[in-house]
Symmetry: C2
Subunit: 500 residues, 2 copies
């Protein structure tokens, strides 16, 4: 406790070991100085263990209103800056989890604060429209300037939604509607279609399915949840659909060192996908679409090769299934490209791409053919929130102006190299370091040790998240620079030393 | 076209008929002057037919990006005020639809604009937290000040969500979890529960059901959609669950004139509910919960008596089903009480009450027993949006300060009386006028006439919405006063004269 009261900055300067200087501590790095985030803090600063007394008090207060079992601590968002999250006890933590990967350019970014002070934007916050029927004048321009300016290859159509789950739910519905019209050969439902659908029965509510992958996460509403297979706690006791679940490749890392074995594993999974498509067609529950994350995030940061995704995309095409790429967590630049699927190098990567989190608004892009044929089929009251688009415009400007995707690639290399070094240093404790950009992860010996390390890191001023059974995931903002990597590595090294 | 270019205000003053003066035109009404909304406009002002040329141009532009079949016109939200929505062609319409019933105190209310200029609130907009793990310091206070200050009887727990569908999806999940733990007698899942749920199979994903009503609307994500039965277009081609659908009473209006027949109809529906509960239990798909709207809105503004709901609540209790009252459209004051279920006069009206729209944030209240037993069972990244709670605090202050629920009751009486008079005057055209507060509706001869009348009213400066097959629904803001009622009635009378 006493040591955690010492300013982290001081502690870092006092910290000495061979690894630290060879990895390039930010106090000596020239490269780091160039890319300083000027509204950022200098480093973590811890005053109490976390949660501190004020957080505990508030947790008790909120506990009378909600289940607070998942609350880590309470935040002082006013005082948070850039890569640093400040809590209500005055602790300042380097945030490498960023609100479950949903803060794109750090806390209180000047560009976002400035946008808020523009009186022309006031009305967008105060008057939330029913976007599907009464959009504001600037809506086409704003989504052109924001979402369409980063549209995935081959897609010119985008639909906003309020959150990630709603995005996938509506993407699924678009897919079902498209599939059913394709099956009919036209879009005129029969009398029987119309009467049966009103009581949830076939043929109006057809027995179609979405194929998903073990370990995948696509949200928690009931449609999405039927494609989520990452943790028991998400799914237990909730009714579901009998939809096919394929194995996701379980690869060895670093991928390039195990290319041959990994290719075999991927081939096995692809074969299983085709088998399931055939089997579910025979069961009378045809697979209308396949949904997959470019990197399984919640499920444990599981990667697959570009070849795997290209082949999977071809299988979808071959069997007439729509291909939905869920970029809710991977989208927005964390992998060093704006969309993780860009790493596959395809002109036609998907039929639908869903997003949320770092994009600040939910939604999905789709190919022309996938757009619902009639109004009100994909619809709800709000259909998103145009105030979020205003923020997104600014976020994209900052990403371009500051070349943040290049920065992410650079920081990501430093982070992954650091993780490689640490796992070489602590072979019994760490394994399977992996990542793209700063979207990195590493496995810990066991779940208990992983969980303990997360708390220890937090008490030393680094906020991290877990994923899968034994992984730590890294989800910094796009303004996470090389010198932040080194602050992290130094602290993480201390934590590892405690857990050898 | 030419006549619509005349200022509506002038047109109104020129307008003369016996009905008009007897109903109390605002130009002579003393009562109206007292309650003037000072930031409001004087009346509608139409410059073009709607959609005008600029709206058409923008619709074309947006059509390259999205399906725009449902777009009515584009809005100038900056210039909209109080009860008046201004479009991009400079038309100013009295808004009795309010973004599908989701604008509580009109456009650009000074209290909301003022809230936006408070620098202390900036950070809440700029840094959207993952509320379930890292709430802001003021979160417990803000939901106490907002949502808990209007909590339904017997409920002290509330969970925010981003929209109405997510609210109901999570309410369903809470119900399933509660039901299953009750069935188990404890909350420790078996090995089989845990392994089977990961692949969507029973017993981990149990065959439980939610009983809903024909004509009900509870959202469009796949769980909600299985309880929605209002229109084919919502449900067609989307897979669903085999859940029971009970008849909703089809009553005669005015309710007090047909008390005996209506009571019989309600008894028939309640009997059917019990039959379905028994039948679905026998099918191995027990009814874990019953979901119902206090007034079926989207399905055609169908009312039932307080007795019906009290009996239904007892049936739910008797059979061990949770009782979920969906107040997404009825909540927030439109019926003259903050929650429509308050009209039932019960101390224990529900186990769960969901909300969204006028509350500006989605979410649901629940009784202690319904709260999920473990963290992360009810969870998602954002869990709502605290910036919406800031607005809600101000909205509730305005409602209290200006006694808006009393105002709604008063305006509602004037509106319903006006509708009664009009239906007496146009018996072949209008029927079944009904309502609670300003939450009113009336039926039109047929769907084509109804749809045409909505367009005609719009071109004369009144924005209305349809619901059900042939109904017009009235969903003004809570600041809709008696003199607004008379502006509406005058214009509606013109429309009726065109459709005799």
């Amino acid at each position: 406790m006493a040591s955690s009261l010492i300013s982290r900055q001081v502690a870092l300067c006092l910290h000495k070991n061979v690894w630290l200087s060879s990895a390039g501590c930010r106090y000596v790095s020239k490269a780091a100085a160039k890319t300083q985030v000027d509204y950022d803090y200098d480093g973590p600063l811890m005053k109490t263990t976390v949660p501190g007394p004020r957080s505990q008090e508030l947790t008790k207060q909120l506990g009378d209103i909600q289940n607070v079992g998942a609350v880590n601590f309470f935040c002082n968002y006013e005082d948070s800056r850039g890569n640093y999250l400040v809590d209500v006890d005055g602790n300042r933590m380097l945030d490498i989890y960023t609100q479950i990967s949903s803060i794109p350019i750090g806390y209180n970014h000047p560009a976002l604060l400035k946008m808020m002070t523009n009186p022309n934007n006031l009305s967008t916050f105060v008057n939330r429209p029913a976007l599907g029927i009464l959009p504001p004048e600037n809506f086409p321009d704003k989504i052109t300037e924001s979402l369409l300016s980063v549209a995935p290859s081959g897609m010119t159509r985008v639909q906003t939604m309020a959150c990630g789950s709603c995005s996938n739910e509506n993407a699924f519905k678009s897919i079902f509607i498209w599939y059913k019209n394709k099956e009919r050969g036209h879009n005129v439902p029969s009398e029987e279609d119309m009467s049966s659908c009103m009581i949830n029965q076939a043929p109006g509510c057809p027995d179609l399915s979405i194929l998903s992958f073990m370990g995948g996460f696509h949200g928690r509403t009931m449609g999405c949840l039927a494609t989520t297979h990452s943790k028991v706690i998400h799914k237990l006791d909730v009714p579901s659909f009998d939809w096919p679940v394929a194995p996701f490749p379980r690869l060895k890392y670093p991928l390039e060192e195990f290319a041959r074995e990994n290719a075999q594993e991927e081939a096995r999974c692809l074969e299983e996908v085709e088998d399931l498509i055939v089997k579910w067609r025979q069961k009378g529950k045809p697979v209308a679409g396949i949904v997959i994350e470019p990197i399984q995030a919640e499920g444990g940061d599981n990667h697959a090769s570009p070849d795997f995704f290209r082949n999977l995309r071809n299988i979808a095409r071959k069997h007439g299934c729509a291909f939905l790429v869920d970029e809710v967590q991977t989208g927005g630049g964390g992998t060093g490209k704006f969309w993780a699927h860009e790493h596959w190098g395809m002109d036609d990567p998907a039929d639908v791409v869903s997003f949320s989190k770092k994009l600040l608004t939910g939604g999905y892009y789709q190919k022309d053919a996938l757009q619902a044929d009639k109004p009100y089929r994909i619809f709800n009251t709000w259909m998103g929130d145009p105030s979020k688009n205003l923020f997104l415009v600014e976020v994209l400007n900052v990403i371009r102006r500051e070349n943040l995707l290049e920065e992410v690639t650079r920081s990501g290399k430093a982070l992954l190299n650091g993780l490689y070094e640490l796992q070489a240093q602590y072979p019994g404790l760490l394994s399977r370091a992996r990542g793209q950009g700063t979207f990195c992860a590493i496995d810990v010996r066991d779940a208990a040790t992983r969980d303990r390390m997360l708390v220890q890191a937090r008490d030393k001023g680094v906020l991290l998240g877990g994923c899968g059974d034994v992984s730590i995931r890294f989800r910094p903002a796009l303004i996470f620079k090389e010198y932040h990597v080194h602050i992290f590595l130094n602290i993480f090294n201390d934590v590892l030393a405690q857990n050898k």
